[in-house]
């Protein structure tokens, strides 16, 4: 079996639970620790991708450029990567990141809107980057239709296409069905990736299932640091891979130490499965909505879970954070 490619998202998805407030010193310290612990790729950006800093998604403590500056020079093994959402960031942002040493990028769209990424996938390939297509909220599309979206990204030039369970709502069979649908329709040379959220406590299990059915690029983050109940916790995933005797490049103990000593103390809101984060997975809501919904609930005297359920009922997708206050205002009318 091909060694899985482990991509860390502590410094991108992990921005969400702390409202994008890493300092550049923290980012550098963590990037170096992750590199020395052997992860294959380190993703750095605002939680909503490059240029995500905004009233809608929250302003960062630093700009993307401050976070990225001087990182690539420090890496000895890991590839420096980033992420963009078409409709938020543009090719101009990506070119700037490329000039700062970013070698790989994920272009993220909602699971039915792959064609809005063609411009950026082609553009990133032209820049000579490794490119992943990132189909978010994968539970909102059937395996067959999701695979057709993956095909659009592949045809645009993506080296890898991801099943991205942004709501942490997929069950194990749902993951298996989607990966198998990808395998059926994509070229053998196109890699398949998996990005999980832990809202139903399935982050690691779903990542393993995806790998067993053909996914070769696995996302994870230290302590699970990520939106909602977090991502697949990296140190746990590596421990499981060790037990399964699957070879990889990571050092478990270094990851455990960095997770516990550096990352966990940063969490102002615990990253865990609790009533609110479970509600994200149960209702199928974009995990990044969590903190925005908790703030709106507090401000307008509502129950977070009720807001999340209403967002799901209205079919809100990633990027519609502005609609959380709008929904709350409708609810108190």
């Amino acid at each position: 079996m091909k060694k899985p490619y482990i991509q860390d998202v502590t410094l991108r998805d992990g921005m969400h639970p702390i409202g994008h407030q890493y300092t550049k010193e923290q980012v550098k310290e963590l990037a170096i620790a992750l590199d020395r612990a052997g992860v294959d790729a380190i993703e750095i950006a605002h939680g909503d991708g490059l240029a995500g800093g905004s009233f809608t998604f929250g302003f960062g403590a630093q700009t993307d450029w401050e976070w990225l500056e001087g990182i690539s020079e420090e890496l000895t093994h890991a590839r420096l990567t980033t992420l963009i959402l078409p409709g938020i960031a543009t090719m101009e942002d990506l070119e700037k990141a490329k000039n700062m040493g970013v070698e790989s990028v994920r272009i993220a769209t909602h699971c039915t809107e792959a064609d809005t990424a063609i411009q950026h996938i082609q553009g990133a390939k032209k820049l000579g980057m490794d490119v992943g297509g990132f189909l978010m909220m994968a539970h909102m599309n059937s395996p067959k239709n999701l695979a057709e979206q993956a095909k659009i990204m592949e045809q645009a030039g993506a080296d890898c296409v991801y099943v991205t369970d942004s709501a942490g709502a997929l069950l194990m069979n749902d993951v298996k069905d989607r990966i198998e649908a990808f395998k059926e329709i994509l070229e053998p040379s196109t890699e398949i990736g998996i990005h999980c959220h832990h809202n139903l406590s399935l982050g690691v299990a779903n990542t393993i299932i995806a790998m067993q059915h053909g996914a070769t690029r696995l996302d994870a983050s230290l302590t699970g640091m990520g939106a909602g109940a977090g991502n697949a916790p990296l140190e746990v995933l590596i421990a499981v891979l060790n037990k399964m005797e699957v070879s990889h490049n990571c050092d478990l103990y270094k990851l455990m130490d960095t997770a516990e000593d550096i990352v966990r103390p940063l969490q102002k809101r615990p990253v865990r499965v609790d009533r609110e984060t479970l509600s994200l997975g149960y209702a199928g809501v974009y995990s990044s909505f969590l903190l925005h919904s908790e703030r709106a609930a507090q401000k307008y005297g509502l129950d977070t879970r009720a807001i999340l359920e209403e967002l799901a009922r209205r079919g809100m997708v990633g990027g519609q954070e502005d609609m959380i206050v709008d929904v709350a205002l409708d609810m108190i009318k």
């Binding site: 905004s54 302003f59 209205r314 079919g315």
Partner: protein, 308 residues
């Protein structure tokens, strides 16, 4: 006598504009509907409504017997195609171009904000659907206080985004951001567009956030409401969906705006809903409606200003 116009582009936007002019305009007459796909629904509709059509693009338009009498050309193709089309059309100094693509060749025009600035321009650009919806609000706030930053989120139904929009998302964000700065008068503009595939399709929503100097909230409210009424004159489905919200961002806890630096002051949040008139696409497609309504209003005002 009605002024003769041509529409280049037989997709969603061109066809919706065709219907609006045919049904309601007292001063405009569509003398040519131009596409590049002879099988397109837009051209078929035009033919059924006895509008002369041509399926060989702008080159074909110049060969049409109607061409001489046409005074206004609407371009509803794509930013790239517009550059080609304009190269051809600009040779004719008696024609005006109203550009509905995000090509940004001519000055930006939002009827409720700056029509009178560009009555003489040979080519005017209608920014984007999101720009038409949100720039009036930013401009209304700028009329009262200095706006440091204007951010807008346009959420549109997936079904209302045609292939041109989908292939050119960057042009949307860049053109809208520049429009927020140039016409909205924000020091820095930012635009976000979201496509939502929900069924039944969701009505277009636009949210405007500005960060300005502290100012008289009641004056800001009044200015926004007055501007909404101005837009409603040509887009009846344009509405404030919530009360206007204010939050103070203190100097002790400023926000870091990429490309601008640290800023504090008054945050104003405006939630808009744009229900379409249901001409070519159903009512959810407010994005289509506001674009074509703004283009039609521009042409009609142009005719009026030329005649007087």
């Amino acid at each position: 006598m009605k002024t003769k116009v041509a529409i280049i582009g037989s997709g969603n936007i061109g066809t919706d504009l065709l219907i609006k002019i045919l049904r309601y305009s007292e001063t405009l007459e569509v003398a040519a509907m131009v596409g590049i796909d002879p099988k397109s629904d837009g051209l078929a509709r035009a033919a059924r409504m006895d509008v002369p059509t041509c399926h060989t693009g702008v080159d074909g338009l110049l060969e049409m017997p109607e061409w001489n009498d046409i005074k206004i050309v609407f371009d509803a193709t794509s930013a790239k195609a517009h550059l080609y089309n304009w190269e051809k059309i600009r040779q004719f100094s008696d024609k005006r171009m109203i550009d509905l693509t995000p090509a940004s060749v001519g000055p930006y025009l939002v009827p409720a904000v700056n029509f009178s600035d560009h009555m003489e321009a040979l080519n005017v650009n209608m920014v984007t659907c999101g720009g038409q919806a949100t720039i009036p609000i930013v401009a209304a706030i700028s009329d009262v206080v200095k706006v440091h930053y204007g951010e807008i989120v346009a959420s549109i139904a997936s079904k209302s985004a045609g292939p041109g929009t989908r292939a050119n998302i960057d042009e949307f964000t860049e053109t809208t951001s520049r429009g927020i700065e140039k016409i909205g008068k924000a020091e820095k503009g930012k635009a976000i567009i979201i496509l939502n595939p929900a069924e039944p399709p969701l009505v277009m929503r636009d949210t405007v956030f500005t960060l300005s100097e502290m100012g008289d909230k009641e004056a800001i409210r009044k200015s926004i409401r007055a501007k909404v009424e101005l837009v409603q004159e040509y887009v009846p489905g344009y509405k404030l969906h919530q009360e206007i919200l204010f939050d103070e961002i203190p100097a002790s806890n400023p926000v870091l705006i990429q490309g601008l630096g640290y800023r504090h002051g008054l945050k104003t949040s405006v939630y808009l809903k744009i229900t379409g008139a249901g001409h070519y696409l159903p009512e959810y497609a407010g994005n289509l409606d506001i674009m074509t309504s703004a283009a039609r209003a521009t042409a009609e005002r142009l005719v009026k200003s030329i005649q007087s």
